[in-house]
């Protein structure tokens, strides 16, 4: 075994370390500052989960014995993100569960279950706030949500979409949900809201596909132009899969927002329910950015070796936030490319990257029935 009992890190110490993070500027650390800090945190989290989550401890046993503690950041075990769909992984006593997040699951079959304790949930909000404010400023501004408030009818069952909206709505005021329950645009309400608030900045939040389908497509089909004002900012996320199917690029998406809604500031984010909070936001130059408390590693899909900058590969995401569940180092099934570090034209430090899509599914496989072949 490569982690011993001596490594047990008190969760209190861990939280203290996390709280030392610079919340004012989430993009302040250069590689040389960030690496020792992140490596220490990642090793602490790995030890913590190893000692407190049996499933995670079992998982790390597949890695070679020569992997020794403390680990280089590249050698921190990376848990496949799908594991949260197949296993209940929690590193605290069950009585600490404060809320459980569920992913919507693209296949519709299995959903991720992410158990949060109150402290982890609070930290996620804090970090999300620090990142978001870096893009929309500190003031709470009028907010349009490209969704329906019907989503919240049943508060007991919040899906990832509803949780995302709740997470971001704290950054706005005078919230206006601009879609009805069938996701049709509430045109009159929208125009009224815009007339009232367009002189100042408006914060718009929505899921990428819904923004495309319900806002942009409405404007295109009905040949109308909306005026969201000069200072409006759209933040959107949730994945490009449906838009890729329709062959819509990020560039076209932004162009359409500019032409039909007059929205000039658009930020996509890359994030997942398994790592809420430390999202990767797109800057003014079109690159997604790693904040101080998160990191991204691109791996060769054939052997998971670390790839240099400018090579496309599988995305591994690391986040300092997951304490209640072992989600601090996850291997996604998304493909992406890191373009550089600390030198993006926008001035933010840290790695910057783009996401190019999902890995194709292996043939012969279904999620539920993995051994279908007959002979």
């Amino acid at each position: 075994m490569h982690f011993t009992g001596k490594d047990i890190v008190k969760i209190d110490n861990l939280i203290e370390k996390l709280d030392e993070i610079d919340l004012v500027n989430p993009y302040s650390m250069t590689a040389s500052e960030k690496m020792p800090f992140l490596q220490d945190l990642m090793n602490s989290l790995t030890s913590f989960h190893y000692n407190n989550c049996k499933g995670y401890r079992n998982f790390t046993s597949v890695f070679n014995d020569s992997v020794n503690h403390p680990l280089d950041i590249d050698n921190i075990p990376f848990l496949p993100v799908r594991m949260f769909k197949q296993h209940d992984l929690f590193s605290l006593d069950k009585s600490f569960i404060f809320k459980t997040l569920n992913s919507s699951g693209t296949s519709g079959q299995s959903v991720s279950k992410i158990h949060l304790d109150a402290t982890t949930a609070k930290r996620q909000s804090k970090i999300l706030s620090s990142i978001t404010k870096n893009f929309i400023g500190d003031a709470r501004i009028p907010m349009i949500i490209a969704d329906s408030n019907e989503l919240f009818k049943d508060r007991a069952k919040l899906n990832a979409r509803a949780a995302g909206i709740l997470g971001f709505s704290v950054f706005g005021r005078n919230h206006f949900y601009c879609l009805d329950k069938d996701l049709n645009l509430l045109v009159e309400g929208l125009i009224e809201f815009l007339d009232k608030h367009r002189d100042g900045p408006i914060f718009i939040f929505g899921f990428t596909f819904i923004v495309w389908q319900s806002l942009i497509q409405y404007a295109i089909k009905n040949q109308v132009k909306f005026d969201f004002g000069n200072q409006s900012v759209l933040i959107h996320g949730g994945g490009w899969k449906k838009l890729e199917d329709q062959k819509v690029s990020n560039h076209e998406f932004k162009q359409a927002l500019h032409d039909h809604l007059g929205i000039k500031l658009v930020h996509n984010y890359y994030g997942m329910v398994e790592q809420v909070g430390s999202i990767f936001m797109e800057c003014e130059h079109g690159y997604l950015h790693c904040p101080n408390y998160a990191e991204l590693i691109i791996r060769d899909p054939l052997n998971f070796d670390v790839l240099p900058f400018n090579r496309e590969g599988v995305i591994q995401v690391l986040s300092a936030l997951p304490v209640s569940y072992p989600g601090h180092s996850l291997l996604t099934e998304d493909l992406g490319t890191v373009h550089g570090e600390d030198d993006c034209g926008c001035g933010r430090k840290g790695k910057y990257f783009t996401v190019s899509g999902r890995m194709p599914l292996a043939e012969l496989r279904g999620c539920s029935d993995t051994r279908e072949v007959k002979i």
Partner: protein, 409 residues
């Protein structure tokens, strides 16, 4: 109905035509000369097919149905004077989606048993299926219309009513598929006189006698490892007969001989290749098995050009059978003696491929089994070789009908 007919007699243009035509085909005696001749011709055409060597499963198919083998098979059934053997009538075949050619085995045996056949193949096309259908068409065009007219190959969505219609009138229904597919189709009412043969999900593994291995020369071991790798590699280790685990018998833990085996095996598996998606799938399944405590330690958990060797735990309630990744992963176990294997056999277990055990030792193991597990014991290297005895059925015997004439002198 959204049925596309891939191969049929020229008079058949619809499912209705197909049913009418198949019902009008008379029942044949078993091993009717016309059926034997058709299969012989198919086998030799397939062996001569350009680039056939790209498809080891087709080579195996052609080889299995070679003239000499069919002749040998026939001898098992024609010398019984107490029964007269004939076909049952129309047989319905539901082919599996992932092993493209397996349905040809059960369909040809049904043809040899004297039946006509309605075959539903997967909606997914494959080069192997295209080749098989092309050859049927060539045989038909060359004048083999009588035998080639005895079967229809088509494809349609599982929810289509065609299976229901054919099930009502067929005399034999053969289902290959995952457990879910088998259950779904079994639920469709069947002609009361019909017989049903089901091939659901099964699990297979291997066992090696370590004390025999000490006497195995390097040359023999090279051959053994090549055979073992061939069993793993075919169908991406995802066929029911693909070995998923290896029991080393004669030691309670890794030893000199097991290490020697893996060293030679690494050389046999040196051309192993997976796609990026397969690497990911294997890693995901491996991680899941590790979390459940089924396996630990993988020397190189990721690389696309390596077969993964995992240490299995015999103590856990969950077994390697659940969520095994295939794609080149072997769970190794150690057992002091072969008799110890008995308590690890589960009802869904199918093929045990072995090295270094005598028939007597195998017999002792089989005599000690306590559930329906194990339907085949074969040498390593023959795990995926088809047999007319499959999943506990003698297929010619089951697919034909025996008319009792024992009291007639």
């Amino acid at each position: 109905m959204s049925v596309s007919i891939l191969f049929a007699h020229e008079k058949v243009a619809s499912v209705e035509d197909a049913i009418d035509y198949l019902e009008s085909c008379s029942i044949w005696n078993i091993f009717d000369k016309r059926a034997v001749s058709f299969i012989n011709k198919f086998s030799s055409l397939l062996l001569k097919y350009p680039a056939i060597n790209q498809y080891p499963d087709l080579v195996a198919l052609a080889y299995w149905f070679r003239r000499a083998n069919i002749h040998k098979l026939e001898q098992n059934y024609i010398n019984d004077k107490d029964v007269f053997r004939v076909g049952r009538g129309v047989s319905l075949h539901i082919a599996p989606s992932n092993v493209d050619t397996i349905f040809v085995y059960s369909f040809f045996l049904s043809l040899l048993a004297g039946n006509s056949s309605f075959i539903r193949v997967s909606q997914k096309s494959s080069p192997q299926l295209d080749i098989v259908i092309q050859l049927f068409q060539d045989l038909y065009d060359s004048g083999e219309t009588e035998t080639a007219g005895r079967f229809v190959i088509c494809t349609y969505p599982h929810e289509d009513t065609t299976t229901e219609i054919v099930s009502k009138l067929c005399e034999l229904r053969i289902i290959w598929g995952g457990d879910k597919t088998v259950s779904n189709i079994t639920a469709i009412p069947l002609n009361p006189t019909a017989l049903e043969i089901k091939f659901p999900n099964r699990i297979s593994f291997s066992a090696i006698n370590l004390s025999t291995l000490t006497k195995t020369t390097d040359k023999e071991l090279i051959r053994l490892c090549e055979n073992f790798y061939a069993d793993i590699q075919l169908f991406g280790q995802q066929a029911c007969s693909s070995p998923l685990a290896l029991y080393f018998v004669g030691s309670s833990g890794p030893c000199e001989q097991s290490e020697r085996f893996w060293n030679f095996f690494a050389a046999a598996a040196k051309n192993h290749k997976l796609s990026a998606s397969e690497v990911m799938d294997r890693y995901v399944s491996l991680s899941s098995m590790a979390i459940s405590g089924i396996v630990d330690k993988a020397e190189v958990p990721f690389s696309h050009d390596k077969v993964l060797i995992l240490n299995g735990s015999l103590t856990t309630q969950i077994s390697f059978r659940d969520g095994h990744p295939g794609n080149g992963s072997i769970v190794q176990f150690f057992l002091p003696q072969l008799a110890d294997l008995s308590s690890h056999i589960r009802p869904k277990d199918q093929t045990l491929s072995i090295y270094g055990f005598s028939l007597g030792e195998v017999g002792e193991l089989l005599a000690s089994l306590t559930n329906r597990g194990l339907d085949r014991v074969v040498p390593i290297g023959q795990a995926l070789e088809f047999s007319n005895i499959w999943d506990g059925y003698d297929l010619i015997d089951s697919m034909s009908r025996k008319i009792d004439v024992s009291k007639i002198k």
